[in-house]
Structure formats: C-alpha cells, structure tokens
Amino acid sequence: MSELATMRVKSGLAEMLKGGVIMDVTTAEEARIAEEAGAVAVMALERVPADIRKEGGVARMADPSKIKEIQEAVTIPVMAKARIGHFVEAQILEALEVDYIDESEVLTPADETNHIDKWKFSVPFVCGCRNLGEALRRINEGAAMIRTKGEAGTGDIVNAVRHMRAVMGDIRRLQCTPEEELFTIAKDIQAPFVLVKDVAERGRLPVVMFTAGGIATPADAALCMQLGADGVFVGSGIFKSSSPSARAKAIVEATTHFRDPEVLARVSAGLGEPMRGLSTAALAPEELLEARGW
C-alpha cells in the first residue's frame, strides 16, 4: 500500500538537496550549465530577480513552455515560482509536475492577506521568511521547505545575514525558554503553539531551511552555511556575473567545504566580475521584496 505526497515525502526531497546549491535559470542552456556545475536543482524563471527589479512591471509565473523546455534539458529537480496567494498558478505548476513550487515574494503578490493553502497540493512548496514566526506560519500552511528571503536581485548579502541570524537566534532563545512562556512567545511571533513547542524541543525547524537573496560569491554562500543554512539558493548572482559556469562551480564547492578557508580561498580566485549589484540600504522601502508575505 503506497502513499503519495505525505509530509515526509514532500519534505524528504528538500532533505536530499541539503548541502547543495539551487540555481535560477531562464533557458534550457542555462539549466544545463547549472546541472553541469553541480547544482542540486534549478529554479525555472522567466526573468531573474535583478531583471525583474530593473524592468519593473508585474512579475508572474513563467510560461509553461519555458518550464517544460527546462524540464527536458536536465535530470535534476526543477522548481518554479508562483505568486504569493496565486493558487491557480500553483495548480498549473502542479499539472506540469514541477518538483517544488516556490511561493515567492520575488513575483508580484496576488493576494494581500492570504498565502496559498499548500496542504491541498501533492507537489511540495518552499516559502520565504525573515524570522521564525514567518517560517512557522508558512509551515502551518503546508510548506515543506523554508528559505530565508534576503533581498533578491541585489547581490547584497546583508539582508540574508539578518534573516539567518533572526531565525537561528529565535531558535536558540526558544531552546532555553521554560515551557509556560512558549504560549506568549507563540502569540508574540504569530505562530502556532504546537510548532513553537516542536522547534523548542528539536532546536531546529521541522523542515529544511535554505538561504536566499543576495548571494553573489562563494564567500557569501559559505557565510550563510556557517550561520546555519542547510543549503543555498543563488538567483541573479550566477547568470548576471561575467563567467557564470566558473562562478556556479565555485559556489557549489564553497557550499560543500564551507568551513574550509583554504578551499574557499582557492575557489574564490579568478572568477571575473561578480554581478554589479545594488546596496539594499540605498533601496526605497517600497522597492524591498522582503516585505512581501504576511
């Protein structure tokens, strides 16, 4: 008697991606470069976040023909993004049999109040967060994987670091909090008590947590890994750099050997120009993608 789409099966794929790099790609050719460089999965997109930022307009789910083209090009898992709350985009992505759906703040939100009810889907979801409360709200809605948001399309690591420190710091605090205080913490961080208690007991989230948003160099990837990430999403950082293949390979190596400065020094050398990037401190509040999500 086999059971499909149990939480263990959904979160299980994320477990297998740990210690790896998931790369944003917009064409079959980029997908092949990513796979060849050692990516554990690719995120199929119409435009990378840096271009969404530059060109503006409404950012939506990618064209299904683009997703199919990328699925046919590689054997590693293919993920794709749906707008926050846009459950029909998610239904379409499920019909395409993508391996993971990213309900993503990088796209223009479709619902200002609600996220997708992810329990209704067989395909697992990954969602962004800035802190523990946001992570647990997404898990409560059925997310089987979490990524810290960072600030996509900037090449600036500062928000990714802030979000990693926020989540890991919140988890560390929970571990030394007496149980009777967890009720109030659950209320304060707007998260279900059962999940707060679970995190306090385990000392980690119940699902895998990657980092995302602003990773541009091997050192950035290793920094987030040392801060406690299970793996790394790299968006614009690869295909907006001067030599994508070499950079992709270097970030993969840095993610495996994140505690080995000798390896990091070697793989960081001679990679050419990283993406030029934007300082997040110079962005107006309405330009920040991280604030999307409720």
Binding site: G19, G38, V252
Partner: protein, 185 residues
Amino acid sequence: MKIGVLALQGNFREHIRTLAGLGVEAVEVRKPDHLVGLDGLIVPGGESTAIGRLIGLYSFEEPLRNFQGAMFGTCAGMILMGRGGLIGQVDIGVDRNAYGRQVASFEADFPLADEEKPLRGVFIRAPRVTDVGEGVEVLAELDGDPVLLRQGRFLVASFHPELTDDTRVHERFLDLVREDMHVGA
C-alpha cells in the same frame, strides 16, 4: 567502531544522527584523507550528479573504490555503487529517477528478509534496480522490484531508512561492518 558518512552533499546529517542513536561514532567524510581509520562508510542520498561531480573534483574515485571496509549506499549512494557508477562495486543495473518526478515519490511498507514486522520505506525520486547479478542477495522487494540488496560487504537501498525512526536497516549494516572487521582481522 567508527563509521564515516560521505558528506559532499545530501542527507548525511540524518545518517549520522541514526548512527549516534545506535551508540556508534560517526564522522563526516569531505576529503579522501578522512577515509583513513574508518571501519565502514555510508554513501547517502542526495543528487547523484552533484555528488558525482564533487567526487571527481576531489579525486575521491580511487579512494572510494579501494575502501576496504563495509559500505552502505542509499538512493543516490546506490546509483554510485551500482554497475557503471563512479564507485561501482555492486553487480546491479540501476535506472535513475525511474518512478518519475517528485509527485510520484511515495512511502510504502514491504517485508524485510527474515523478519515478521514490515519495513516502511520512503522513496524520493527513487532509482530502480533493473537487473541483479550473481552473488547479489535481495533482502527486500516492493512490487517485484528489489529495494534492499547485499553483495558481500556492500549493502544498497533505493529508499531512505534514515528518514524513519526504524533503525533495522542501519543495524544490519553495522552487523556487516562487524562481520567484515572480523574477517579482516
């Protein structure tokens, strides 16, 4: 007894946790010199292309092929240990992602050789064993497909025993390690 878990990418942390729960010392193997002094090695699940590339990059092929202790591969690890794989000592044909994409991933119960209680297997974008050579013993099957096999000091599974609380497969591997240490001594 000291067991290494290949920690280039994938589910190595859960194997280490399972072994620790059984009171066994387990260490991460990220470079070939970490193989020295180990009595057994686990090659975990993950993305076989990503793990394979990192194996090549760090000249791991020869040290892994020459590893003298017992070895246990799960999912991607089975692909690497099967015929034609980078490690390649087990005489089985393996078809990658044979069940399809993630929507076809599943969990199921199946009987385990010599035991009454069935085993729960979690299959994630799992490989399928297409043919089994002589000298390979099938320890468990699901719908006619071998899912747990042994050849001498090598054990391979197409599912993920490290994702459940049932430790019987890891215990069988540890028996294999002990048996092999005894033979070696």
